[in-house]
Symmetry: C2
Subunit: 102 residues, 2 copies
DNA sequence: GTTATATTTGTCATTATTTGGCAAGTCATT
DNA sequence: AATGACTTGCCAAATAATGACAAATATAAC
């Protein structure tokens, strides 16, 4: 399993010399929960990612990208057609971007 | 929403001149359910996709690819960082492929 | 090796989401 | 208006995700 997101969280947290038990309360989760998120055992909600960014002095988009990437990778990883599917999906998303609205 | 998978199903089914009520029993689902799958209102299970392939005279991998692509696109579509995340995820998946095992 | 602190593990009840099926609906054709 | 093809709406059951807690395991200091 990949968990680039969680790895980044841990890396940033340690860079700031912050403990799980210090950060967790700021996010309204308990310490074990944050631990699980960092290790990829639990999924963070988007809102939590956004609240985390300033605490870890990271750009929200950077964290969101890794957060989403892990989810996508999890889907694609255990299928033989994973990479092809991603190509198709990419075109699909690009196309949808052109016509603004959802 | 995209639904390339469902669109392909319908296209193939019509090419074979098959009716929903003919195909559905072969898959052990009822007609409304298959209708919903074709319209992307319900997700097909992987196993159903595989059983569908021979009926519609399609390559399993072709259907699986679209089926997965829709799921990935659904994840990425409503995030601004969707495309970037897909790039990251792609690298992630490629990397995992190199080290065989999960 | 005992104490203290940080993190992880395991379990659980609650909540949310997904699923599959049915009854009834629409739409078109005859 | 009857038939045939498909769709819609709704619901109960199954499944998965969530958050919390107690307990367990490090890790390090003394």
């Amino acid at each position: 399993m990949s968990n680039q997101f969680g790895n980044k969280l841990r890396e940033l947290r340690e860079q700031q010399n912050l403990l799980l038990r210090q950060v967790a309360p700021l996010l309204d989760v308990d310490t074990p929960m944050l631990s699980k998120i960092e290790r990829g055992e639990r999924q963070a909600k988007k809102e939590l990612v956004l609240r985390l960014a300033p605490i870890l002095k990271a750009k929200p988009d950077e964290l969101l990208t890794l957060w989403l990437a892990d989810q996508i990778a999890a889907l694609a990883a255990d299928e033989e057609v994973g990479l092809q599917a991603m190509q198709v999906a990419e075109e699909e998303v690009k196309y949808q971007k052109t016509k603004k609205k959802k």
